[in-house]
């Protein structure tokens, strides 16, 4: 697998009509959902390529001897305000605002230039004409409108658009900055956890997100498994949190791995804004924003890995950063696992399911078969044993359509889009 093709982020836009993916090679590919079409009834709901462009290029910081990867860490869409679509894409150091617009008309009959673009000799022009607009084949253009650079010493892990639609935050390992979408030469630092002496560093910021409705509230998660909620109205620098979420740990079960597997790799508010979900190495937790001392729900993603932590540490898999997502109504959550498995949990029925995203197990329009991992003893037919799991096939990035039961699952260099059965 060419490393550049590995998908590093997946995100639906607000309407769900567009789906963007970013990859390690710095490219963005946008898919668009096909409109309902009577002549091709089966293609309704299919996503086809709409636009693709090179968002970021590899860079080398000679002063610091730092290689800056072009890998797209996150893409976040802006709410649509006119015919064009806007999204923010970021690598480790630079955030870019891209405008994606359609062009389906072309002007013809210019006075000063020929149809092929050559300038006409002004002395030969004897009459004036008005250029007319003629239809042309749809062309989708992507252009960078803003480049937000040089504000992060460490590696950007998150961006989040504010509900005010004017500002957004970007978070790196130690700091969070607030930007205005129109202003690229300045950003405000709102969180700074860098200790005066780096030897005292004990935790880093792993993810951050704005509240979906309250434009003054955001949360950030840490490598120690804690989440801090901050209110920008209380002070300009939000080093002191308004709320601190942490589940108490049973000291007798503490081990070398405890802190590492408690590191939160993703945090997402529910659409309602009342809950938030965090993903750590082995589980997904749902927190009520009104209760700081423990989550209200905990879902085990792949508990069978607890007895494999030694080898997962040796092959670095223990540091894999899985994302998680809510469905549109906040009734279900989804996250990825290994062996191209992904898991979905229904919060109401408490049922969960494991599915696989691979060519072998999914033909177009076939129904996915639930998968099961067996942890020991006799392996039933159709089950897979823990030792047979392929840890190179990890599903780190998944996305759920904002309104319908359509999900996008990135399996290394492949993108799978699954839908509910259409009756």
């Amino acid at each position: 697998v060419a490393e550049a093709d590995i998908i590093s982020t997946v995100e639906f836009n607000y309407s769900g009509d567009l789906l963007a993916t970013g990859d390690k090679g710095g490219r963005v590919v946008i898919f668009q959902r096909e409109q309902e079409n009577k002549s091709r009834p089966h293609s309704r709901g299919e996503y086809n390529v709409y636009s693709t462009f090179q968002s970021h290029e590899p860079e080398f910081d000679y002063l610091k001897s730092l290689e800056i990867e072009e890998k797209i860490n996150k893409i976040r869409w802006l709410p649509q305000q006119n015919a064009a679509h806007f999204l923010l894409s970021t690598n480790d150091k630079t955030i870019k605002l891209w405008k994606i617009s359609e062009r389906d008309k072309r002007a013809e009959g210019y006075n000063l230039k020929d149809e092929d673009g050559r300038l006409r000799d002004p002395f030969r022009i004897t009459a004036l004409r008005v250029p007319i607009l003629k239809p042309m084949d749809l062309m989708v253009e992507a252009s960078p409108r803003r480049i937000f650079a040089n504000a992060h010493t460490y590696h950007i892990n998150s961006i989040s658009v504010n509900s005010d639609h004017e500002t957004y935050l970007s978070a790196d390992d130690l700091r969070i900055n607030l930007w205005h979408l129109e202003i690229t030469d300045r950003s405000f630092n709102i969180v700074d956890i860098k200790p005066a002496n780096m030897e005292e560093l004990t935790e880093v910021i792993t993810a951050a997100e704005f509240h979906p409705h309250h434009c003054n509230v955001f949360v950030y998660s840490s490598s120690k498994g804690t989440i801090r909620l901050c209110d920008m109205r209380s002070s300009a620098l939000c080093d002191r949190h308004s709320k601190f979420f942490e589940e108490p740990e049973d000291p007798s079960s503490r081990s070398f791995f405890s802190e590492i597997i408690s590191s939160i790799s993703d945090v997402k508010f529910s659409h309602s804004g009342r809950y938030m979900m965090t993903r750590d190495y082995l589980s997904v937790k749902v927190w009520d924003l009104n209760m700081e001392n423990r989550p209200v729900e905990t879902y085990q993603v792949h508990e069978y890995l607890r007895s494999k932590l030694c080898s997962l540490y040796e092959n670095d898999c223990i540091f894999d950063k899985f994302e998680c997502c809510w469905n549109g109504s906040d009734s279900a959550i989804m996250t990825g696992s290994y062996n191209n498995f992904f898991r979905m949990f229904d919060r109401n029925t408490r049922r969960d399911i494991t599915l696989e995203a691979s060519r072998e197990s999914s033909k177009p329009r076939a129904i996915l078969k639930p998968r099961k991992v067996c942890t020991g003893g006799k392996r039933k037919k159709d089950e897979i044993s823990v030792d047979s799991l392929d840890f190179n096939k990890k599903i780190l990035h998944t996305a759920w359509h904002p309104m319908e039961n359509i999900i996008a699952v990135a399996a290394t260099n492949n993108l799978y889009i699954f839908q509910d059965k259409i009756n």
């Binding site: 290689e67 800056i68 880093v204 490598s223 589940e247 108490p248 740990e249 049973d250 081990s255 607890r306």
Partner: protein
């Protein structure tokens, strides 16, 4: 881990269950894994989730490129054909001019090499 809320959304940890029943005779799976790791790498850090791990994370992307070496080598090679990177990109010695692109990704391992004892 703390006792879960809710109606059984969380599966019972087999290790935890065992520990409740057999007072300290059986080790939790996590502790067993920890013992395995310590056996393999006895010198593994005193602060497991602390500085080493975090420093590695913060230093991602560090490549060592000396512009002095680069320019000296370029000057020496002025009259000769510039050699290409060659099949073994890790070999950056001799007359080969190092460029940022063909420096090996220096990923320091948290687990000390067995050679280092």
């Amino acid at each position: 881990m703390a006792a879960p809320l809710g109606t059984g959304a969380r599966a019972e940890e087999p290790g935890q269950e065992k520990q409740d029943m057999q007072e300290k005779e059986t080790v939790t799976p996590e502790r067993a894994e920890e013992a395995k790791l310590k056996a393999k790498y006895p010198n593994l850090g005193q602060k497991p989730g602390g500085s080493d791990f975090l420093m590695k994370r913060l230093q991602k992307g560090q490549k060592y490129f000396d512009s002095g070496d680069y320019n000296m080598a370029k000057a020496k090679m002025k009259n000769k054909q510039l050699p290409s990177a060659g099949p073994d990109k890790n070999l950056v010695t001799g007359d080969h001019i190092p460029t940022p692109q063909d420096l090996p990704q220096r990923k320091s391992s948290l687990v000390t090499s067995k050679l280092a004892g």
